[in-house]
């Protein structure tokens, strides 16, 4: 019962809330829909924190997403031992990069007075859960080896069962607590998304790649 609540109920609740509130906030509070940059106030530590954090976490998130979207492809990649080694190595290094970056970012906000003045309570909350999540993830990856392989056979079936609305938690209930904690905390971060600056993730400006150089807005119709 408890497991069902954690691995079926909570994921659904957090995703539904995240989607609904994200849309609601976009429509009612477009002004707040971004991550408030503090680069103007402090830029050296930001460089050493923000760059490794973002590039690290993007690769790590992709490594979670690709096996889920293309399980066949991922299975083929990890089937060979050498390739599995390489995947683990890449994964661990990017996870380390993200963790170090995040720690620098947190220290920056703690120690730099200017940066601290523009840090809100939701920001601290988010930083805490993100650090917890990457810390747990790093731990799981280190102590329960070959995650790039077992993730495909344990977490993906569970996530897929949630997506197809036929929840099946048989593959995850037997997992060690640490791994379970990582899963649940992941959904906590998803839940936080619409309530914090994490919404900036949804505003990544892809359209910049193809839009025209200049933007002119006319009031008249038909221009």
């Amino acid at each position: 019962m408890f497991d069902s609540a954690l691995f079926i109920g909570f994921p659904y609740v957090s995703v539904v809330i995240a989607v609904v509130v994200s849309i609601y906030r976009y429509r009612t509070e477009p002004f707040t829909y971004s991550s408030q940059s503090s680069e103007l106030l402090e830029n050296r530590k930001l460089f050493f924190g923000s760059v490794p954090w973002h590039y690290g976490i993007i690769i790590i998130l992709l490594a979670h997403l690709i096996p889920f979207l293309f399980p066949g492809l991922w299975g083929m990649i990890t089937a060979d031992q050498t390739r599995l080694y390489i995947m683990e190595l890449i994964g661990l290094s990017f996870a380390l990069m993200a963790t170090i970056g995040l720690v620098i970012l947190i220290l920056r906000r703690l120690t730099n007075v200017r940066a601290r003045t523009v840090t809100s309570i939701p920001d601290w909350l988010l930083l805490f859960f993100l650090l917890l999540q990457v810390g747990l993830g790093f731990w799981v990856a280190y102590y329960y080896r070959w995650g790039s392989d077992w993730f495909l056979h344990i977490a993906v079936p569970w996530l897929m069962s949630l997506v197809t609305l036929q929840p099946d938690i048989s593959s995850v209930i037997a997992l060690p607590d640490l791994v379970k904690f990582h899963f649940i905390n992941g959904f906590i971060v998803i839940l936080l998304l619409p309530f914090t600056r994490l919404v900036h993730l949804l505003t990544f400006p892809f359209t910049y790649i193809w839009r025209r150089n200049q933007i002119v807005i006319w009031n008249r119709r038909g221009r």
Partner: protein, 505 residues
């Protein structure tokens, strides 16, 4: 031909006394909010000097504006499209608050509340960012005003790079020290770097009048506009997490008033009027080789009396009142008809729509035998107030670096005309020039008595209505195409929210 109208500006630097009234008028209206304390949408800097923010003209440092590539096309100096997206997490070319200054106030309360003691209480400086005391203030607004700290600031002016070592040393001799003021607002460029650099597409140009604005709701704090603008005239509000910039007081313009900085200008150096321009020529104008930039920009501006131009403007929906305003525009006269107003740093290739009449170079005075020898007074028998261009105290190359992308000939032509005006009027009033000398000056300035009188009149004696020809922007009419005016009736016309704020208790 794609004729559009643009509300444009001329600043007559000869008349600027550096009083900063414009800056204060702007600050009191627009930037006295939290997060904007350090912003000066209008600022006045001393030249030579490094300006505000420090070294804004140094595009090797800040990567603002456009660059002409080997294929003779222009691209943003800051980034290409993909590169822009990869720099979102950290913009390597963003100035920090210390490149402007950390804003502060004083702890005035302490003067009243300090406990009795042996010493006078003091009002310590308090940072307006952190709220903590600042013991060492290292920069402030107009820190290098009137050449203050010139060994540090004036010497590092980017425009001095073209000068020889000797010329630069001359500028530091106490008897030859020279400076002038450069008031700056957003240039509302035709090819703005900020618009092109914004990943979110939040910055736009208003089609009807050319004012460049940042949508506060679309801005996502990627802060590329600040680097993209070579004039550093977009600013990041650190408290709201949005970029902000000069809005050319559009709420004032829409009610028929000139912007606050124009209105309040003590020296009456500012002119505002409509220019008609050919939008088809913008990209080409920004792409020509450096020495042709000013000519291309003049070519872009169209004659508002030309029937073909009027026809094309009408076809584009430019209202007749706007065309009439363009015909009366003082800006058109200074920039296109008389060709004595030049864009600031056309080499940034953003095609700025704010033009400057360069200042008359001050007289050359050098101490000799304990007396000031006003240039050539004895030797050449010229009146004291006029130095010849060749003996200009501020090297003409310096002016060319600022106003004509290094093309000395263009700046010289402007000065010859300005000198002709001076000599002509002086001969008229003081009568210490021979008619032949006046004729020679007119010929050198490629001008005539009639034009000189017109330049003199608009320079020295213009009325309020002659300086500011504000067209009816007709916003209330054009807005009807997008919104039903009655929807907003009885609502609070205030703030940026789409809904009227309500009281909860």
């Amino acid at each position: 031909m794609d004729i559009r109208a643009h509300v444009s500006m001329v600043f007559h630097l000869d008349k600027c006394i550096g009083c900063h009234t414009c800056s204060i008028a702007c600050k009191n209206i627009w930037t006295d909010r939290k997060g904007t304390e350090y912003m000066w949408w209008n600022n006045v800097e001393t030249k030579p000097g490094t300006g505000y923010p420090t070294l804004w003209e140094d595009q090797d440092k800040y990567k603002g504006g456009w660059e002409r590539g080997k294929n003779e096309k222009i691209h943003l100096r800051l980034h290409n499209r993909l590169g822009g997206l990869t720099n979102l997490f950290y913009n390597p070319y963003l100035p920090t608050i210390d490149d402007y200054y950390e804003p502060w106030t004083y702890d005035y309360e302490n003067l009243f509340n300090a406990p009795e003691g042996d010493d006078q209480p003091t009002a310590r400086a308090i940072s307006m960012i952190t709220g903590k005391p600042m013991d060492n203030i290292e920069a402030g607004p107009n820190w290098d005003d009137d050449l203050g700290g010139s060994p540090l600031y004036a010497r590092n002016d980017v425009n001095l790079d073209e000068l020889s070592e000797g010329e630069r040393e001359q500028l530091n001799e106490i008897e030859r020290v020279v400076f002038f003021y450069l008031p700056r607002i957003c240039n509302h460029c035709l090819n703005p770097g900020c618009v092109a650099a914004c990943p979110a597409g939040a910055i736009y140009k208003r089609g009807e009048d050319g004012i460049v604005l940042i949508s506060q709701e679309k801005c996502r704090a990627w802060r590329m506009c600040i680097s993209g603008c070579p004039y550093k005239k977009t600013y990041y509000n650190w408290a709201s997490g949005k970029s902000e910039k000069c809005i050319l007081c559009y709420p004032r313009l829409e009610s028929g008033q000139p912007p606050a900085c124009f209105h309040s200008c003590v020296g009456r150096i500012r002119y505002l009027g409509v220019l008609l321009y050919d939008a088809d020529k913008i990209v080409n104008c920004a792409s020509v080789p450096e020495q042709d930039l000013v000519a291309a920009q003049r070519d872009l501006i169209q004659d508002p009396f030309d029937p073909q131009v009027i026809q094309s403007a009408r076809a584009n929906g430019v209202p007749d009142a706007m065309i009439t305003a363009a015909q009366n525009s003082p800006v058109y006269k200074f920039v296109k008809k008389w060709q004595i107003a030049l864009p600031l740093h056309p080499d940034f290739r953003t095609v700025p729509m704010l033009y400057y009449v360069p200042p008359m170079l001050p007289v050359l005075a050098k101490m000799e035998n304990g007396n000031y020898d006003i240039a050539g007074l004895d030797k050449e028998n010229l009146p004291a107030m006029l130095s010849s261009l060749e003996k200009a105290r501020m090297p003409i190359k310096y002016m060319a670096s600022m106003f004509s992308a290094g093309n000395v000939k263009i700046v010289e032509e402007v000065y010859r005309k300005l000198i002709a005006v001076r000599i002509f009027k002086r001969a008229q009033k003081v009568k210490d020039y021979q008619p032949a000398e006046v004729e020679a000056a007119l010929a050198q300035g490629k001008t005539n008595a009639e034009e000189v009188e017109a330049i003199f009149r608009l320079t020295s004696l213009p009325t309020y209505e002659e300086r500011f020809v504000v067209p009816p922007l007709g916003r209330e009419i054009s807005i009807e195409a997008l919104e039903r005016p009655l929807d907003r009736k009885q609502a609070t016309g205030f703030g940026i929210r789409s809904q009227t704020p309500k009281r909860e208790f």
